[in-house]
């Protein structure tokens, strides 16, 4: 095995072009597990720790440019106003030790169906900036996941940044697991209100081969809120609408039975999380008088 330690982004791209099978390693919280357990013996490890710009972020007018290696701890501490859904999801990742190392770039690179950062990226609206010596491109996060642990990156590409829309309304995240820390999600759910466009986005993790947006549920809810004039009135969402939204979210799942949970349980749990997180974001919307982002102090609430 070879250990490549590029000192700059350009060097990293050149190394990846020269060694397309090199495995990028940043926090190591996924890659090192596979190496420790002899599940992976790449010819090269490509260490990204020395590339400072990957650890930086910038809050712009409408988007946050998040360096691929920014650890979850920094996101939780510094970006919970701009990216409340991602901060809540990040808070459920592993433990403090893992959050000090793990990053959204790594989560995207691994492309596990259970990646905690994926549903909030899908509901916030995000693009993955991938670069190679051939050039740079932006991949909408909806198009990024192509299968179980597969993504849209070409073999010479590295993830540089993630461009995430700043929250324009309340966002929530919920996750089912056997305890509050150190769990891979049995399933996860994220919902975001976009009051300025009068739409709702909902996304599911760990209940299909890839994380996905529950578009049928989104369309139903967006139409139902519009029809009843609830964005303007700030009235409560009728129980029947919330229930239908939850059922559509459940129905959009394509889960498997595995050690963490059965397919039937996952479908059920996604519905429960959909209903609850919807009530949380809608309460948030109503309590801010219909505008402004709001997030919960102290991390995500128990689903």
């Amino acid at each position: 095995m070879e250990f490549l330690r590029p000192a700059s982004w350009e060097e990293a791209l050149a190394a990846k072009a020269e060694h397309p099978t090199a495995v990028p390693i940043a926090g190591g919280t996924d890659v090192m597990v596979e190496i420790n357990f002899d599940q992976r013996r790449p010819e090269q490890l490509l260490d990204l720790n020395r590339i400072t710009e990957l650890h930086e972020w910038e809050v712009g007018e409408e988007q946050v440019m998040l360096g691929a290696s920014v650890p979850y701890t920094r996101i939780i501490e510094n970006l919970r106003t701009e990216l409340p859904g991602l901060a809540l999801a990040g808070h459920t990742v592993g433990s403090p030790q893992i959050r000090n190392r793990g990053s959204v770039g790594g989560n995207l690179g691994a492309a596990s169906p259970a990646g905690d950062s994926h549903p909030p990226l899908l509901t916030a609206g995000a693009e993955v900036e991938a670069e190679s010596v051939r050039g740079s491109r932006r991949i909408p996060v909806e198009d990024f996941f192509t299968g179980v642990k597969r993504n849209a990156l070409a073999e010479d590409e590295l993830i540089k940044r993630i461009h995430i829309d700043k929250a324009s309304g309340p966002q929530q995240f919920s996750k089912v697991g056997t305890r509050n820390a150190m769990v891979i999600a049995v399933c996860g759910f994220s919902v975001a209100l976009h009051p300025e466009r009068r739409i709702v986005k909902a996304a599911v993790g760990s209940a299909a081969p890839t994380p996905f947006r529950a578009t049928a549920a989104e369309d139903f809810l967006t139409a139902a809120l519009d029809e009843a004039g609830l964005w303007e009135s700030g009235g409560a969402i009728p129980l029947s609408v919330a229930r239908q939204f939850a059922e559509l979210c459940s129905a959009s799942c394509n889960p498997i039975d595995d050690v963490r949970g059965s397919a039937a349980y996952r479908r059920h749990a996604v519905g429960v999380m959909a209903r609850r997180t919807l009530s949380w974001v809608w309460d948030g919307y109503r309590s801010t008088g219909g505008n402004g982002a709001r997030n919960d102090e102290g991390g995500s609430r128990c689903a």
Binding site: F3, G28, R41, Q97, R101
Partner: protein, 192 residues
């Protein structure tokens, strides 16, 4: 490959390191620092928790090559690190590291840190395997927050598993260490 980094304030060097080797393996097997424990090798148990440039990390998930030129504090250097926070001390010497014992002789150079002493006083150690990782994690918590709530303590220790104690005595120990640290900081504040 050769890897050079600072451990407990002193430059360490390891040769013939395999490229896929973890920081934990280098510390334990190549540098003679077995305080960080090897259990799950997947970041689940926290037994190998060390500070990397000040942050708590699982040493089993850091590739040795990633630590080149960086600063690591292990449980062996915890007491020194704690005393250095209060005063302006030196690095832990190799002799001190190797001489380290839970009950140091009267002339030993390494007294216990507040967290270590509190774990003994509160009876928070049973088999002792998880203890080094818990000490490092608890020490980081108290460094940043000497008045942690129970929620803060639980969250700070959520990455460390203990299969003996049921955690109650560990929580007692962290509360005790925090209270003692807070008190001594307050006294120092008065002295200034």
């Amino acid at each position: 490959m050769r890897v050079t980094f600072t451990v407990n304030g002193r430059r360490h060097e390891a040769d013939d390191v395999w490229e896929g080797e973890s920081l934990l393996y280098v510390l334990r097997e190549r540098m003679g620092l077995p305080g960080s424990k090897n259990a799950c090798e997947q970041g689940e148990c926290g037994s190998c928790t060390v500070r990397l440039d000040g942050e708590s990390v699982c040493a089993c998930l850091v590739a040795a090559g990633q630590v080149e030129g960086r600063d690591v504090v292990t449980v062996e250097g915890l007491a020194d690190q704690a005393s250095r926070r209060a005063t302006d001390g030196r690095g832990t010497t190799a002799a001190d590291e190797q001489r380290w014992a839970p009950q140091p002789a009267a002339d030993a150079g390494v007294p216990l840190s507040p967290v270590q002493q509190a774990f003994i006083d509160a009876g928070a150690v049973q088999c002792g395997f998880c203890t080094p990782g818990l000490l490092v994690a608890a020490d980081e918590l108290i460094e940043h927050n000497s008045r942690p709530s129970d929620g803060d303590i639980r969250e700070a220790l959520s990455g460390n598993l203990c299969r003996c104690t049921g955690y109650e005595k560990i929580l007692d120990a962290v509360r005790l260490a925090a209270a003692r640290t807070d008190q001594s900081e307050a006294q120092q504040g008065e002295a200034v």
